[in-house]
Each structure stands twice: as structure tokens, then as C-alpha cells.
Amino acid sequence: MGTIAKIHELLETKQISCEELTKQYLDEINKANGELNAYVLVTDKQALETAKAVDKKIADGEKIGMLEGVPMTLKDNLSTKEIETTCCSKILKGYKPIYDATVWEILKSQNAVLLGKTNMDEFAMGSSCETSCFGGATNPHNTKHCSGGSSGGVASAVGGNIAAYGLGSDTGGSIRQPASFCGIVGLKPTYGTVSRYGLIAYASSLDQIGPITKSVEDASIVYDVISQYDPKDSTSQGKKGPNTFDTLNNDIKGMKIGIPKEYFEGVRDDVKEAIFASLKIFEDMGAQIVHFDLPAVKYALPVYYIIACAEASSNLGRYDGIRYGYKTAHYNGTHDMVCRTRSEGFGEEVKRRILLGTYVLSAGYYDAYYKKAQNLRGTIVSAFNKAFECCDVILAPTVPMTAFEMGHAVSDPIETYLTDICTVPVNIAGLPGVSVPCGFNAKGMPIGMQFIGKKFGEAQILNAAYKYQQAAGENFKDTKWGVKL
């Protein structure tokens, strides 16, 4: 199924050259992208150059690293030097960063083959990828359905086999939700473990970069490489402890898996059934299932929207038509220029969130909304700390439903916000979470579940997720698209 380990083996044993492999991916992108709309930019020239360099290394008998020569993609909010980075917004069209995001700098130094930049909701604001100025990416399992969002393009590309893996960002579920919708794995690491330098900001206290992959093993491989301390990000801490890869296969006998009641309220039956079926598998492996209440999470969603929009209204103040990006053609004075630039450059959802953020930060409303939300954020953190006194990892749905049809999300903002209900608590508390496929519904659409860990508990959640995949199978279904390896 084209995992990193498989590709590494093919390259190392010279069963395929990196150039040949890269060309296969580029050909398949050509064939599939008209319908999947996963890529907004294909970087074929650079990809082939890197591939040739890798082939030379292999021909010279040098050893290659695990990620070396593996064709991959980056969400279009990750800065790539000299390569257009737009956040899928009209306001950043044509913007070519003069530096690389730290995560890309790390991967580039390991000769990762960048196939291109992938589609996303504009400035990562959305849950279906459809707020993108390029139109949404579709779901490789059924292109009438959305890919999820905001990292929809990465998930569509990885699920559709036109990238081996990709990096996305997760502010309120933007890695885990599209991974769940597209039937693959998405890891949102602990806040601070992966450098955010070069990630174009949405809500800085919630944003985190992480891998979207075909298997838990792949997620672990990529996470171990990108989780490094970075002095360029003042919130960076790097990973604590050894590589997660070393403990993937540890016995989980005696591990306490917590099931929080509130996470299952309003969740569709097909999703619930798939997750409850997995509990039997854990019990057979000797894990202990602990049911408990976590009432604080019912406030997580409004707290998330207040904090995220407040931070966004500040972060997006930088788009003023002066230093980069779009500038209006006709204006009358500076104020008029800035207002026209922003009104013409931003899409509807981005404007809505800027306005909401400005509202909750404005005089008279600050205490009732922003300050109250920050205090509740503390309450939610305490509730999770307490929960982890009675369990080692938490298991919950990633999304209350499977991928909805294209066009559905756009109609009702509140209803769309509700799809994030299971993913946002992790961002609010700064915890790690990994979404893993756990089956398909009657219509053949993938279902995902997430493991939530303590701060810096990536090794534990990846261990639990890996053991699940070993016992239950990977629940990965090849789609009609992409490279077949």
C-alpha cells in the first residue's frame, strides 16, 4: 500500500529507482488531480532533481535514511522557499516565502521528495476543505464526498496514493478529521513538540504540525524525525524521551484505556459501533477498559471558537497589502487601501472568524467571552489531568460522522462547527491525539477513532494504535487512484 517502510525497502534493494518512482507519482497526480483536487501546485522539477540525487547516492553505495527519496507533500500553509505558498487564499496568491518552515528544512535535508503543495481550507479555517480559493479536495473513497478539513488536500493525496505521506497542521482537528474521513492515520502531536516556525499562523496557542500517513508505523517514523527543539520557535520544546518507534510493539497488557462518556453523545451509530467493536480487541490483548465522565469537554467547542477566532483576528492583521500578497487595484488613501485589500482578498469564512474574534476581544465583551473562555480552558486542562489519573490513554471517536457530501458544510456554519466537537478538546489542552481507521460504514466510507495521550505521551498512544492495527488489520482500503506498489 505504498508505506514509507515499503518504499524505503524498494529503493534500498534497487527494485525501483527513485526517479522512476517519482515519475510514477507525478503521472498518477496528473491522472487523478482533476477529480481529487488534492494538489494546488505540483513541484515536478524539484521532485525529479531530488530523486536523481537520491539515485546517485544509492548507485554510489551510500546508505539512505528512512525518509530519503520517499515522495511526499506539504499542506499549503507550510512555508517553502521560492515555492508559492498561498494558504489557499486569494490574499496570498503569488507569495513565495524567502525561507523554509523548520519541518521542511528537516525533511529537505533528508532528501524527502516534495511532489507539491496540497489543498486546504483557506487559512485552515474549515472542516471540509471547501473554503479553499481553489475549491475543495474530494474524498478518494467517493469523490461526491469531501476530504474533510482543513488539511483535506494532504489526506486526499495520501488516501488516494498520490503521495506516500504528508504534513498537515491541526488547530481544532485539521489533521485528525480529514485523516478519519479519508481512511488513513493522522497524528496531532503535543503542543510544542514540533516547531511551528514557517507555519502560517491561524491560532498560535492551538496550531501544531503533524504527519498524515497510511499506517501508524509511518506516523511514528515521521514524528520521530520532525519533533526537534527549534530556537526559532519560542514555544518549541522538542520531543521528550526516546523515539516512539522503539516502543511501537510493546505489550499493552494492563494498559488502561479510558472511554469518556461525553465523547459518544450525538455520535452516529455506525461510528459508535465500529469503536465499541475495537474494545473487544483491546480486551483480548489484556488491556483494561475504564469508563468515566469528562463533563468539562462539553464546553470545549465554544471555548475553541472564541479562542481560535480571537487569535486569528490578531494573526491575520498582517495582511494589509503592503509587504506581501494581494493588493487592491484602486483605492483612496491608506485606510481604504487596507480595507479593500482585505475585503477582496479574504473569503467569507475567514472574514466571519476575524469579525467574531474582534467581537470577543472588544471592550465590553472581553470578560464575558475571551477571559471566560481562557478560564474554562484551564478547567478543561485540569479535567484531562484528572482523567489521566485513572487511565493511560483515552479512546474516542475522531468525528461524530463519516465524510459528508460536497456542498453540505458550506450551508450552515454552526452545524459545520459541530463536526469538530470530538477533536477540539485535545488542542485546547495541548495534548497529543492520533486518528486511526477502524472500519467502514454501509456506504463504504471510512470511520476513524482517536487515541488521546498525556502531554508528551506520543509513544503511548502510538503504541496502543500500532497494537490495534496489528491485531485488527490496518482497515486500509486501496482506492482506484494512485501508485500501486
Binding site: 524567502i98 519560542s234 464546553y299 466571519r352 467581537y359 477571559k371 478560564n375 484551564g378 478547567t379
Partner: protein, 92 residues
Amino acid sequence: MVTREDVENIALLSKLFVPEEELDALTKDMQEIIDFADTINNASVDEECFDNINNLSNVLREDEVVKSYPSEEILKNAPEQAEQHFLVRNRE
């Protein structure tokens, strides 16, 4: 209660123009979102645990000149420039 005037005022603070014909629909949307946000007012907060959820502390560095980017590089992305500077607006 979110009024049309509220929306006009925050649009001004946000440096966004809202066309007259969109104002009613946007006011309605904002009211719905604010009603939803209002659910937090039912929650009781036991303690003042304001901010610093992510255990951050200030990161300082020595006050030394470090290498930066040449201005030509930075200006490459400017929509308009003049005499090695960003051009904010043309003179009337």
C-alpha cells in the same frame, strides 16, 4: 443581542468592508455564533486559571546582531515598492 451597528463597528475595527446588502445576513450569522458562544456562561469556573496552558516562559537571547535577510529578498514579495522601500500607497 448583536445589532447591525455592532457588526458595522467590528468590521471597522477589523479593517473589513461589509457591503450594505450583506449586513443583515451577517448580523444574523454573528448572532447565531454568539448565541452558541454564550453557552459557556452556564459553566462554573472553580478557579482563576487564566492562560499559560502550555507552560510557556519568555525566551530571550543575547542582544547581539545576527544575520538577517537582505532587503532585496524581503522586498521581492511586496506588491509595490519604491526606492528600496515598501510602497504603502501612491500619492493622491
